[in-house]
Amino acid sequence: MTFLIQQTLVYTIPLMIVALAGVFAERSGIINIALDGIMIFGSFVGALAVYIMQTAGMFGDNTQIVFLIAMLVAALAGALFSLLLSFSAINLKADQTIGGTALNMLAPAVTLLIVKIVSMQDRLSMPKALGFIISNPDMNDVFKPFFDKMFISTYIVIALFVVLSILLYKTKYGLRLRACGEHPQAADSVGINVARMRYLGTTISGALAGLGGYIYIATTASGTAEGTVAGMGFLALAIMIFGNWKPVGIAFGSLLFGLLKCIGATYASLDINGDGIFALKELGLPIYFYNLVPYVVVLLVLAFTSKKSRAPKAEGIPYDKGQR
């Protein structure tokens, strides 16, 4: 059980924060289909930072500081990368889907181009093991699933998620940002700077996606940057729609998806009640079945809930002052 909770969180955390990244962009009126690309770019820059710190022997023993710096750098890189999207979508009023697609292609290209020059192969592996895991093996059984073998990123992301959700729903800044995604003309008429709000939304989105990207590779792929995040950005996009552009829905959706993903990754060694019988393995279904399930579940849920789905009204439409 402990193992299942911990592994579920490993997949849930990046999905949760990247889906929230999508909410910030779309609530401000910009379709951010580039989440996957921004994740890739953030994960690459974060990995490069760790690579440099490890080769230079900085913070030798304190791996948590290395992790924190890498997360910060990844978020910064994601924010800067997303400016490309904001510039084309807000200043030049370009098609946002095309801009996002370009970013999705640009990120792996830049990553692999540089990685191959630095390391002579298609992946940037870390010189030393990451050691980002926090272990408290002496904990009692109630707290153990949440404090043993955990990553500091888990707590940070949950805190960020709560704070940003409150910011988006309970403060005037959040209200203004959301107004720009629903009816920018109305927002403008009461003195809100639509362009600035949309820049803010997309930049927060970029920072969160970059952060999520690095957390994903640091917790599942021992920090190796390969120019891919296995489509997690697109999954996060699906979870955002699944969660109806709302934080609570997203948290629920990423937990569900995290659990299904975790079962897919670990079904062969999964022993839920600890009786030594690997129930799922004995069913004899191949890994493909468990990989399929999350996507089919999302499709079914979308099919049944689509009538209630409400996207921000003005998303994807460049703001034009002259329009009513």
Binding site: L92, L112, I117, Y295, L302
Partner: protein, 404 residues
């Protein structure tokens, strides 16, 4: 003559081509700046390679060194352009109906699987091999149509965003394909070190006719697939521009509600457009894997095929014009080959070509802006000319009055 030139430049199509060319030039320039920056920052790369590299990329397959290599790379470029052309058409036709078909990779995989299975499962004699090939091609296409209809149904009848359904069906397809081959080991290559791939269709004597093209480009995999792809692009052009169905599809893309008001069945059109898109993407895969020289990496559950995704830049580069797609896919493959030559002859690697294509697409997002700028300059000029003529007229009139 001057008027004719003016009329030529005022045409919508010319403007599209011009803006695409501008995007390409800008993309290559940015790519070159990146090469230069890398050379300046990295001590592994001499600065002279940045200049040499630009030349190699621009020369594409022609920088392969030696006429033998050039013929071989050129043949492969044409061979690989065919599936890309079809995924480009797939994305373009969906765009015309206002749908973003990011599901081409999944449709491509379904087509690949069905075609490979049909081509390997039916025993052939030299006399029947061609018919099995044709059947495999058709079955591949139909399976892609069915797969493409899923996002169409979700969009038309349930109102679910097609992008999300496409992404889900992509990963479902990747797992289904892996699962089917996992359970049917007879289609997998048993030769040492080849177990990651399916058997080539030539194992059953099935392959796309080559019509002597392999003599023209010795060593390459080229077959008549490229001609089939071009013919289909022309057919799609006719379908979109000269038939009622094409008109209805485009009308749905322009304004769904207006199309419905005009009595068109917009739901049927959405499903139909996605079915066509799916069929085209799948046909691309069928052509590629029925060649006999290409092998399908069957255990693909963690990876989607690039050819599917690259249909998107091809369609964007062509402004969704089926005839433009012919050139768009050719250009992409040309730059691709340039990238591989770059990796061979300089300290850079093949990802430079991906970078250039990404930058081109980024600029293609502005193409409407560029077109507007082009028109505005024309309009300003025309206005000036107009004013001049009027002024001329006025002075003329004045003179005439003076004469009186």
């Amino acid at each position: 003559m001057k008027n004719r030139i003016k009329a030529f430049f005022a045409k919508e199509g010319t403007k599209s081509v011009l803006s695409s060319l501008l995007c390409i030039a800008a993309g290559i320039f940015v790519g070159w700046l990146v090469l230069l920056a890398l050379a300046l920052f990295s001590d592994k790369i001499p600065v002279s390679h940045a200049f040499k590299g630009l030349g190699i990329i621009l020369a594409g397959p022609f920088a392969s060194g030696g006429s033998k290599n050039i013929a071989f790379v050129l043949g492969d470029m044409l061979f690989e352009a065919a599936p890309l052309m079809l995924t480009g058409l797939s994305v373009a036709i969906a765009f015309k109906t206002g749908l973003f078909n990011i599901g081409a990779p999944g449709q491509y995989l379904m087509g690949a699987m069905s075609s490979v299975i049909v081509a390997l499962a039916i025993p052939t004699t030299p006399a029947t091999a061609f018919w099995v090939w044709l059947l495999a091609l058709l079955v591949g296409m139909i399976s892609g149509m069915l797969w493409g209809m899923i996002p169409g149904f979700f969009k038309a009848f349930l109102g679910v965003n097609e992008v999300i359904v496409c992404i889900m069906t992509n990963w479902i397809a990747a797992n289904v394909v892996s699962w089917v081959f996992y359970n049917n080991k007879q289609f997998i290559n048993a030769a040492g070190g080849k177990s990651a791939y399916t058997l080539p269709t030539t194992a059953n004597g099935v392959s796309t006719p080559k019509l002597g093209l392999d003599k023209l480009f010795p060593g390459s995999n080229i077959d008549i697939g490229i001609f089939i792809a071009i013919a289909i692009a022309i057919l799609i052009f006719i379908l979109l521009n000269k038939t009622t169905l094409g008109y209805e599809l485009k009308a749905c893309g322009h304004n769904k509600n207006a199309a419905k008001y005009a009595g068109m069945n917009e739901k049927r059109n959405i499903v139909l457009s996605m079915a066509l898109a799916g069929g085209l993407a799948a046909l691309g895969a069928s052509l590629y894997f029925l060649n006999g020289g290409a092998e399908l990496a069957w255990n693909t559950y963690g990876k989607l095929p690039d050819t599917g995704f690259n249909g998107i830049p091809v369609a964007l580069l062509a402004s969704n014009n089926p005839l433009g797609v012919i050139f768009g896919s050719g250009f992409l493959r040309y730059i691709d080959k340039g990238g591989y030559n770059l990796a061979g002859f300089t300290a850079y690697n093949e990802y430079v070509s991906d970078l250039i294509i990404a930058v081109i697409i980024y600029f293609a997002g502005f193409s409407k802006l560029i077109k507007d700028l082009l028109s505005r300059r024309k309009a300003a000029k025309a206005e000036k000319a107009d004013v001049a003529i009027k002024a001329d007229d006025a002075t003329q009139a004045g003179k005439e009055e003076d004469g009186k």
